[in-house]
Amino acid sequence: MNPVPQPFGLLAEVTHQCPLHCVYCSNPLALRDRDDELTTGDWLRVIGEAAALGVVQVHFSGGEPLVRGDLETLVAECRRRGLYTNLITSGLGLTESRARSLVAAGLNSAQLSIQGDAAESTDLVAASRRFDKKEEAARIIRESGLPLNMNVVLHRLNLSRLDAIIDVCVAWGAERLELANTQYYGWALRNRDLLMPSRAQLDEAVGVYERRKAELGEHMELLWILPDYYERYPKPCMGGWAQTALTVAPDGMVYPCPVAAEITTMEFVSVRDHDLEWIWSKSEAFEAFRGTEWMADPCRSCPRKETDFGGCRCQAFALTGDPARTDPVCVHSPDHHLIQDALARANRADVGEGGEPDREKLVYRRPRAPVRR
């Protein structure tokens, strides 16, 4: 048996509360209430246990992590233990004084999301009218001395605006921009037919990405997160199950990846019941898909099994109901038709691209309120 790997990163989802209502939200379908959230004391313990386990980077996310008033306390604890901290934020709620106190606590970096290049896109995708707040947040992040990293999720409704999106990030002073093609889990899977780009749309966007990357050079780093449905082979998700990182959800549940809560057939464990070391190295869920022993064919006999690790367990479960199957993205998967069917629908000649027409059909992440009209 191989030795248990040591994780480098902790994704600390400190809350599910969020001012945005994104149609591709990656949080689980069932969000946790504030009443269920870990306390400050719980998080301080988790940070200590994570550091002992080998974690060197903590990414504070959510929901919107700024909703937590104790974020500074958690950041300061990370700094005290020599851990690098990164704030993943929508920018809503980031004031100058908040940024100052986070930097004073030791925050190392911030990542700001946008949904598109203009206010309409935030409204369409996230049902929020606060694009102005995002521009302000970008300024606040830069002026606080933090590096500004930005992220935009790409899909059928905004891919044609890629050039303009990159322009916005350049204008706002980003050092790095992640162009994250939508991954289809949770909310995004529900909205898949409306979000999936056509092949032509994607090819055009790849051209834009490559041209701008060459033009920008070292001025701004551009990263392209592959749209895996259009790939021949699956993504080596998380560098393999329970290998390099772990996620602690607002209620203390621990997952090998941010969307694994969706695998409802597996028993995950909370930091309220066990310490992180035990969960990482001994719990059944973390051991289930470590390495390659669990694989069946076509993965077991595949020369790529150490390259992509059979793809994403969450995607296998979401599409087939069995997390141990080969990721259907793989051309060798017996379930590959599930991907091809979705692509065939996205590439039908009579389906429009971009713009407003599909708005009425989008399902917004609004757990306790009626769907927006």
Partner: protein, 92 residues
């Protein structure tokens, strides 16, 4: 070949970057927003001296002293050029 201005430049670790000794793995790491870089001993030693108070010439002299070595100039300058290109180090 190097010119005088390269030796008098003052390198400083980028704000976004953090150097640390990882006591769990017993290795030297450079931490960046979305990346962890495993450094070799000399890389860690060079970056550890890029605190904005020393010129490149000072960094070289310090390393030659610490490692009891001579002629480190080329290696250090090659490393710093690469580190600057990767955004780990800024030069003033």
């Amino acid at each position: 070949m190097m010119d005088e201005s390269e030796l008098t430049a003052v390198p400083k670790l980028a704000t976004k970057a953090m150097l640390r000794h990882d006591s769990v793995r017993d290795v030297e790491l450079l931490l960046l927003p979305e990346r962890v870089v495993l450094l070799n001993k000399s890389g860690a030693a060079i970056l550890g001296l890029c605190d904005g108070s020393r010129t490149v010439q000072d960094v070289i002299a310090q390393l030659e002293h610490d490692f009891d070595a001579a002629d480190l100039a080329n290696d250090v300058m090659t490393f710093l050029k690469d580190a600057r290109g990767r955004g780990w180090v800024v030069v003033t």
